[in-house]
């Protein structure tokens, strides 16, 4: 537990010392949201709001998580190697990415809402959906980042590898979030929420089990 916490802390410190990765995500979100504002020069229907939001968030998340093993492939790898178990490392990275993606999601929805209007009928449900999305995305994207770092940091690889794996979640998510925009009933949507939570858990478990095989070299 302590080791996991140390990994999260260390990750944050290292990323904070090179703040430009945070700023690059920030600017990415700002420019894409502003672009969609320019292209859609009118009030969006909840359906298009939903579609735009998830596409922008998806690409921001892929970008954000891509960096999580970027440096590990060469120098930092050795630092971790004798110091932390692979199970702890992956959990720490997933937790770190979870908070990171949640922050990105909240920021994206905030700025998106600022420009395009907030058609959200049930904010509580929307934030629940965002939290579950961040959990599922961070589990898959962290493992994919590890795979693509090991495969030699080809910049196209993370998107190619992760987007098809994320489809089941994105479809469920967008279905849930459109309902949270137009009015949400917890009883009716309990089944979909459970599916989403289970998908996130399965991805988390798979990442946890498979990462040690990637780790040893």
């Amino acid at each position: 537990m302590k080791a996991i916490f140390r990994v999260v802390q260390l990750n944050f410190q290292l990323e904070w010392s090179e703040r430009r990765s945070y700023f690059s995500i920030l600017i990415y979100v700002l420019s894409t949201v502003y672009l969609s504002n320019l292209v859609f020069n009118e009030i969006l229907s909840p359906e298009s709001w939903n579609a735009f939001f998830w596409v922008i968030f998806l690409f921001a998340a892929v970008q954000a998580a891509y960096r999580s093993f970027y440096f590990e492939a060469d120098q930092r790898f050795l630092l971790y190697y004798g110091w932390v178990k692979p199970e702890h490392l992956i959990l720490g990275k997933i937790i770190y990415n979870f908070f990171y993606l949640l922050a990105v999601a909240l920021f994206t929805s905030g700025f998106f809402g600022f420009l395009m209007g907030f058609p959200i009928a049930s904010p509580g449900a929307f934030i629940t959906v965002l939290t579950l999305a961040s959990l599922g995305f961070s589990s898959i994207l962290t493992l994919v980042a590890a795979i693509s770092a090991k495969a030699g940091n080809n910049p196209a690889l993370p998107a190619i590898l992760s987007i098809p794996l994320l489809y089941p979640q994105i479809l469920t998510l967008s279905k849930l979030s459109i309902r949270s925009l137009t009015g949400f009933s917890w009883e009716i949507n309990a089944q979909l929420l459970i599916v989403l939570a289970l998908l996130a858990l399965v991805s988390l478990l798979l990442s946890f089990l498979l990462f040690p095989y990637l780790w040893r070299d």
């Binding site: 898959i140 493992l143 795979i147 090991k150 495969a151 030699g152 080809n154 690889l157 190619i160 590898l161 987007i163 098809p164 794996l165 489809y167 089941p168 479809l171 469920t172 089944q191 979909l192 599916v195 998908l199 399965v202 798979l206 498979l210 095989y213 990637l214 070299d217």
Partner: protein, 218 residues
């Protein structure tokens, strides 16, 4: 598998399903009419694709245990599965044109298929972007296991939660236990088994060819 018997059995079963499938009696259903015969040629593609992907998964799990040659087998079975998926998609599209009026609809099952094919394309891209064979084996195996689970979620679980245009789902006439009558059932199962055997045969030929050419290079 050794011997020739299973290859012969595969050919006989597939030939039987083609001939009996065209000549046999089928129930007369509205909308479907004679296109119900696509059951023998389209649906077995999906069954055998899932079978090929499952075999590929088993070899990927063995490749994680550093078993020699397992990675090549996993990759070749996945490729055969991909070929069967392509055939399934094409036969389905021809059928959909005559039954639904369009080659492509946004049906959950079609989306599932498209995503499955994208996932396995990503798997092939990943394999091609790594040089070192030991590393390739591990990375590809990890991705393949993840891919298989997501495929099962996508084609097995999500479509059950929504309505589909496919026969037998959501009030469509079609192939459920009432319609798949005793005339059709043996031909259908013969086609499934036959195509699984043919798929295994294709994969084993390719595995032999690849491992021979690898030996020659090294």
């Amino acid at each position: 598998m050794k011997g020739i018997w299973w290859k012969a059995l595969g050919i006989i079963l597939v030939l039987y399903s083609i001939i009996a499938g065209l000549l046999g009696e089928v129930p007369r259903l509205v909308i479907l009419n004679e296109t119900i015969r696509v059951l023998y040629y389209h649906v077995p593609m999906w069954f055998s694709m899932v079978a090929m992907m499952t075999i590929s998964l088993v070899f990927s799990i063995r490749a994680l245990g550093e078993k020699r040659g397992a990675d090549l087998r996993a990759s070749e079975f996945a490729q055969t599965g991909f070929l069967l998926a392509t055939l399934g998609l094409l036969t389905g599209m021809v059928w959909a044109r005559f039954t639904w009026g369009n080659f492509w609809t946004n049906d959950p099952k079609l989306n599932g298929t498209a995503v499955t094919m994208l996932i396995y394309l990503a798997y092939f891209v990943l394999r091609n972007s790594v040089e070192d064979p030991a590393k390739k084996a591990r990375l590809a195996a990890v991705y393949n296991i993840f891919a298989f689970v997501m495929m099962i979620v996508f084609i097995g679980i999500l479509p059950r939660m929504t309505d589909s245009l496919h026969p037998g789902n959501g009030g469509n006439p079609g192939f459920n236990q009432y319609d798949l009558n005793s005339d059709m059932r043996p031909i259908f199962y013969a086609a499934v088994l036959g195509w699984i055997l043919i798929g295994t045969w294709i994969s084993s030929l390719r595995i032999r060819y690849k491992s021979l050419s690898n030996e020659e290079h090294s």
